[in-house]
């Protein structure tokens, strides 16, 4: 009486949920699974597109360095002031309007966006590199190196980032976005280092690390070839979240007057300059804010999508419709076969 219940007979089968999940990942490599899961997160995909568009717009419109770009007005310096059109309100010539000096707001916002993006990427670069190096070294070597590095991490965590950022921002002089970003990177790495350390502590006990060591691999090789690729999910997700806090930190510091300073342009600085004009020229205030919010929101959504993609623990419950469809499928799904087989084999003694 081999009576293993086949899924199509029962009205409710808890296995259905697992089957859906298995079917989604069957025969795919880890990278393919991650990519597929990420692409299923609509918010994240839309955010990637929006962020790329913002970047392209910011870079090509007002140009970069000596290149002037396709936009006809310049953000600052010589020739930035133009006659006011329609009192500076948004018009077909100046889509984002003008400030009281007649400067084109679109050009200024684009330059500010560039600054924010530069800072975001240099923060990301520095913080990720430092965080990974510190975390990996202390997680891999443990012992004295670990306690020394972790005490150092604690030391930096003691100070709120905005306080450290204010001091370092003042120190960077306020006219070099990349340097300011690098400074911010130097204070934002500790959370990442702690996570990487935790990941390395558990990875180094795994069999494949032992196998590599027995095969004669050097420490460097083990770290770079065997452990780092396995910790990449944690690193990517947290770097993304770090980027969104970096952009908010930068704009806040510039707003307070201890970050980017005039004549350079930052979105936070623009809001600080124009907040008095809110009642009379609200567009001066809205556009920089809208760009900060959209960049931060996009980065946050991308981070969320990446977490869903990398973290198998955060299982998504399939929708009711999907469950019903899976239940209707006539033939048993491949994943149920082994269960049936062992079920039958485990009952040899039954008469």
């Amino acid at each position: 009486m081999s009576n293993a219940i086949s899924p199509q007979d029962s009205t409710f089968d808890p296995n259905v949920e697992n089957q859906i999940e298995l079917k989604e990942v069957e025969g795919l490599s880890q990278n393919q699974i991650v990519r597929r899961r990420f692409l299923q997160h609509k918010g994240a995909v839309i955010s990637v597109v929006v962020l790329v568009l913002i970047t392209i717009l910011a870079v090509t419109s007002v140009g970069f360095g000596s290149w002037t770009g396709w936009w006809k007005f310049v953000p600052s310096g010589q020739g930035a002031t133009n006659p006011l059109i329609n009192g500076g309100a948004p018009s077909s010539v100046h889509p984002f309007g003008q400030d009281e000096a007649g400067r084109d707001i679109f050009a200024r916002v684009m330059r500010g966006t560039q600054t924010s993006l530069i800072i975001m990427f240099s923060v990301g670069l520095i913080a990720t590199v430092v965080g990974i190096v510190v975390g990996a070294l202390s997680g891999f070597f443990r012992g004295a190196a670990d306690s020394l590095l972790m005490r150092f991490t604690d030391l930096i965590i003691t100070m709120p980032v905005i306080v450290l950022g204010a001091v370092l921002g003042l120190m960077s002089g306020g006219n070099n976005a990349a340097l300011f970003g690098a400074f911010l990177g130097l204070i934002l790495w500790p959370p990442l280092a702690r996570l990487v350390r935790g990941e390395f502590l558990s990875l180094r006990e795994r069999e494949f690390v032992d196998a590599a060591r027995v095969a004669g691999a050097s420490n460097t090789r083990i770290i770079f070839k065997h452990m780092l690729p396995n910790a990449v999910g944690v690193i990517i997700v947290n770097t993304t979240l770090l980027l969104s806090s970096a952009i908010l930190l930068e704009t806040s510091l510039s707003y307070l007057g201890v970050g980017i300073k005039s004549p350079s342009i930052s979105l936070g600085l623009l809001i600080n300059d124009y907040q008095q004009a809110f009642a009379s020229r609200p567009w001066l205030f809205w556009w920089p804010g809208a760009f900060i919010v959209s960049i931060a929101l996009c980065v946050n959504f991308i981070g969320d999508g990446l977490r869903d993609a990398f973290d198998p623990r955060q299982k998504r419950i399939p929708s009711v419709r999907k469950m019903a469809r899976a239940r209707r499928i006539e033939r048993p799904l491949p994943s149920t076969r082994p269960t049936d087989g062992t079920g039958a084999a485990a009952e040899p003694s039954t008469p």
Partner: protein, 508 residues
């Protein structure tokens, strides 16, 4: 335990020394003490002024030696002076600390209560529209720059509300929209079948619209009050809600205890008036609050029964809330006079500072005045913190509700209320309890932006202004306070974690 605390405190002291040393060097490197002199054109005067300043600030000495000089003064209790104003740092700090604590305390409590509540409801309705809306909103709030929100609040909140008070009337359309929004929010939060949703929507809509019409007709905006009737209705509703959450409505004794506290509060409403008029300090208000809670507990015990503790708890919470309503009612009764005061001139919501200068008046006027100054900065802080707490409590609750002991609790037939409140909710709070102290301390030092936008003379403003004016002593005093509080908060968080979760051993 003792050895753990002393070890951590010692290590903390070491961290503090190293971090102040590093910060001293960084601060002396970053400040620009001569920035304001650079515009001077006369070379001789400029050189003389710079020389004076080098003398005042002792700039010819190596910063490392300056640090040890500063440290020597600091440990003997001399915190130095802000050299531009000549004021000693101790007097600068006094006002600033009080102002910041006022701001942070209210904001944190509100953010935690709201955030945890919404996060938990959102977790219980995972993948519902309420959940999706909450996640999306918390993402948006998370991505908002604090200063931007604060400026918006100033423009719309303060100026808009003050303009509204000139002619306080809401159009029926606004009332209907508000009702529909409230109805939708409650409907999504409660969920259930289509019929239940419709009922929730309808009742929330009617209650909101009715309340707004009442406010309109009774000229409430200019003469706000709660009065015995509103206290009776709200109090009874609160008594039912709190009993439902903490004890379950089938526990008649708990319900009775909660309702009798409401009755007692109402009975005392008029006799309390002369007493409240005499109140003149926050200490007394705090004492009255403790007394109220004690009375609530007493009433719960008098109702007795096999589980007095549960009745006492419901009664105490209800008593506290009813007493808060009486307090708010008293504060509101000052409103008409406050509006007419010459210093206010009919525009009560303030956008800068933490008190109206030259206002005069007694304790209650001062309280109302500090409330009107606190309202907007508090909203700004709550909006930003709230997102974090919502996300955190949601994920924490989701994790707890997937544990085996929840399944066991359900399997042994406990009502869903007990499963959620006793098994789920309590365990959700454990990880939260460890981040709250750290958050509060970070906020104490870090409400810099909010304080700056609203020009509140708090710690953050003190720090950022002193840093920009190249005053090292106030900056260092601030940094020491922030770092010391952060170290203590970390130790407290560890201790709380160990106390709440027996699996963690502090001595290990």
């Amino acid at each position: 335990m003792f050895s753990f605390i002393s070890r951590r405190l010692l290590a903390g002291l070491g961290t503090l020394l190293v971090s102040t040393f590093a910060m001293y060097l960084l601060v002396s490197k970053s400040i620009r003490p001569f920035e304001d002199l650079e515009s001077l054109t006369d070379g001789a005067i400029k050189a003389q002024r710079i020389a004076e300043r080098i003398e005042i600030l002792d700039l010819n000495t190596n910063p490392v030696i300056r640090y040890f000089k500063w440290l020597g003064n600091f440990v003997t209790g001399d915190l130095g002076v802000g050299w531009r104003s000549g004021q000693p740092v101790t007097s600068l700090l006094q006002g600033a600390v009080a102002s910041t604590i006022q701001l942070v305390a209210a904001a944190t409590v509100i953010a935690i209560i709201l955030g945890v509540m919404i996060g938990i409801v959102s977790a219980l309705r995972q993948y519902s529209s309420f959940d999706y809306i909450t996640i999306f909103l918390s993402f948006v709030l998370y991505s908002l720059p604090a200063f931007w929100v604060a400026v918006l609040l100033k423009q719309w909140g303060a100026i808009g509300f003050n303009d509204f008070l000139k002619d306080p009337s809401l159009s029926p359309l606004v009332i209907a929209v508000a009702g529909a929004l409230a109805g939708t929010a409650w409907m999504l939060a409660f969920g259930g079948t289509a019929r239940k949703r419709l009922i929730t929507f309808g009742s929330a809509f009617l209650v909101t619209v009715g309340a707004l019409f009442y406010l309109q007709l009774s000229n409430w905006w200019l003469q706000p009050n709660l009065g015995p009737v509103i206290i009776l209705i709200t109090g009874t509703a609160l008594a039912f809600a709190i009993t439902a959450l903490t004890a379950g409505l089938q526990n008649r004794r708990a319900l009775g205890a909660a309702l009798s506290t409401v009755a007692l509060g109402l009975a005392l409403y008029y006799p309390l008036k002369p007493v409240l008029r005499e109140v003149d300090s926050w200490l007394l208000v705090g004492g009255l609050a403790v007394l109220t809670i004690a009375v609530g507990i007493g009433i719960g015990y008098l109702w007795g029964g096999p589980d007095r503790g549960v009745s006492a708890r419901s009664a105490a919470i209800t008593a506290f809330l009813v007493a808060s309503m009486i307090f708010v009612d008293k504060v509101m009764s000052i409103w008409p006079a406050y509006l007419k005061a010459p210093a206010i001139n009919g525009r009560p919501l303030a956008t800068i500072g933490d008190a109206t200068p030259n206002l005069g008046g007694n304790f209650w006027v001062g309280t109302l005045d500090s409330f009107t100054h606190l309202l907007l900065p508090t909203i700004a802080l709550v909006l930003i913190q709230f997102a974090g707490y919502t996300r955190y409590s949601r994920s924490s609750m989701l994790e707890v509700m997937n544990q085996d002991y929840i399944r066991t609790a359900r399997a042994k037939g406990l009502p869903e209320r007990t499963v959620i409140m006793r098994h789920g909710f309590r365990n959700t709070l454990i990880p939260l309890a460890t981040i709250v102290p750290i958050d509060v301390i970070t906020l104490l030092g870090g409400a810099i932006i909010t304080e700056k936008v609203f020009a509140r003379p708090g710690m953050g403003t003190l720090f950022i202004d002193s840093l920009q004016h190249a005053e090292v002593d106030p900056v260092m005093a601030y940094l020491v306070i922030v770092a010391a509080l952060a170290i203590i908060a970390n130790i407290v968080a560890d201790l709380i974690y160990a106390a709440l979760d027996p699996r963690i051993r502090v001595n290990a």
